[in-house]
């Protein structure tokens, strides 16, 4: 039988996309629709399972199987599906509130078990669908409708949390950087087991500008340090070096020698190195 080549259009559903104008979810959706043909998997073998939240409308907009499920419970539903149907490629779509607050336990146990799921965590550091309450990833001191004089709790760092939960694959990317997001999706879908992808996603209504430093054309090259296996970890202005006591730190390039820059090893089994990287920025 002749092989059918699918295109982005084949993965685009006829549903009206209902997100606020300017929402970062649009660019993530467009990147995913363009990436799926690359997978070479028939549409009927792909499933998107989401929880509740703005990002969880994602399955409606893809011409694959999908389920807009229960708040925080997408990893549990997706676990049952992928274990009983290992022939399927299963994605979980979730947000910072859905995954880390309401569904915190399902999230960590899916990672611990290394269930074959690709978990895309849209992190906008706010509850958007319910109109702007602080979330588990909102920075301390965040002023919102539910914290009028500032939030008091320390936020979760999703990468650190995932590492603590024994995740075998963890990456971070940005909604508007289509090339980088595609590269991360390629790596995650090649990984056998749980893959956690944290996506910094701007909410233009309730937390606009949360990631401006790493999106602005003037500052992003200095602000972003790309983790590429086998390559030094540096931006145009800063780099990661190891201190005398063994800890990692970020230093200006002008203050260090090139040979002292840490070369990234994504395959190191001991998670303490990846954890130290995750703590360089909170």
């Amino acid at each position: 039988m002749a092989e059918i080549t699918l295109t982005k259009k084949d993965f685009t559903s006829d549903q009206e996309v209902r997100w606020c104008p300017g929402c970062g979810d649009y660019s993530i959706l467009a990147t995913m629709q363009a990436f799926l043909p690359e997978l070479g998997v028939p549409r009927e073998k792909i499933v998107f399972i989401s929880g509740i939240g703005c990002s969880s409308r994602f399955p409606y907009y893809l011409e694959t199987f999908g389920m807009h499920s229960i708040h925080g419970r997408a990893p549990a539903i997706a676990s049952g599906l992928t274990i009983s149907r290992p022939d399927l490629t299963v994605f979980v779509i979730t947000g910072d509130g859905d995954a880390l607050s309401i569904g915190g336990n399902h999230f960590i146990h899916a990672l611990r078990r290394n269930v074959d799921l690709k978990i895309m965590l849209f992190n906008n550091r706010i509850y958007g669908l319910t109109k702007g309450q602080y979330s588990p990833t909102s920075e301390a001191g965040k002023i919102t409708k539910s914290t009028p004089v500032g939030s008091l709790d320390t936020p979760f760092n999703p990468v650190s949390l995932g590492l603590g939960a024994e995740a075998t694959f963890i990456a971070r990317t940005i909604d508007s950087d289509r090339k980088h997001l595609t590269g991360v999706l390629q790596a995650a879908t090649k990984h056998k087991g749980s893959a956690l992808i944290e996506i910094y996603q701007n909410c233009p209504i309730f937390n606009d500008g949360a990631f401006d430093t790493i999106k602005d054309g003037n500052s992003r090259e200095g602000a972003l340090l790309h983790l590429i296996h086998g390559e030094p970890i540096k931006s145009t202005t800063h780099a990661v070096v190891r201190k005398d006591d063994g800890d990692l730190e970020m230093r200006p390039l002008s203050e260090i020698n090139e040979v002292d820059i840490v070369v990234h090893d994504a395959h190191r089994v001991d998670p303490t190195y990846a954890f130290a990287l995750s703590r360089l920025h909170q």
């Binding site: 676990s79 992928t82 274990i83 290992p86 078990r113 290394n114 269930v115 074959d116 920075e139 301390a140 001191g141 965040k142 004089v149 500032g150 008091l152 990468v159 590492l163 075998t168 694959f169 963890i170 990456a171 971070r172 990317t173 940005i174 950087d177 980088h180 991360v184 790596a187 990984h191 056998k192 087991g193 749980s194 910094y200 949360a210 990631f211 401006d212 430093t213 790493i214 200095g222 602000a223 972003l224 340090l225 790309h226 983790l227 590429i228 296996h229 970890i233 931006s235 800063h238 990661v240 990234h264 994504a266 395959h267 190191r268 998670p271 990846a274 995750s278 360089l280 920025h281 909170q282």
Partner: protein, 67 residues
């Protein structure tokens, strides 16, 4: 006073927000997936004990008793 805590916390927040951010793959290591382990275990047990009869198990006697 509780509100006195807020200004320094907000300063800390400003200082730690997105000055420099690491992006890319932090960790990519190999470990058997849960699904593979489950299927392997089921096959091993079936090979040793046979496929079993779920209906008979459900309709069977008590598996434990209160003494």
């Amino acid at each position: 006073m509780r509100t006195a805590l807020i200004p320094p916390m907000r300063l800390r927040s400003l200082a730690s927000t997105n000055e420099h951010v690491l992006v890319g793959v932090f960790r990519d290591v190999t470990r058997p997936s849960y699904g593979d382990l489950v299927h392997e275990q089921v096959e091993t047990v079936i090979a040793k004990q046979g496929k079993g009869d779920l209906a008979a198990l459900l309709a069977g006697g008590d598996s434990w008793e209160i003494s």
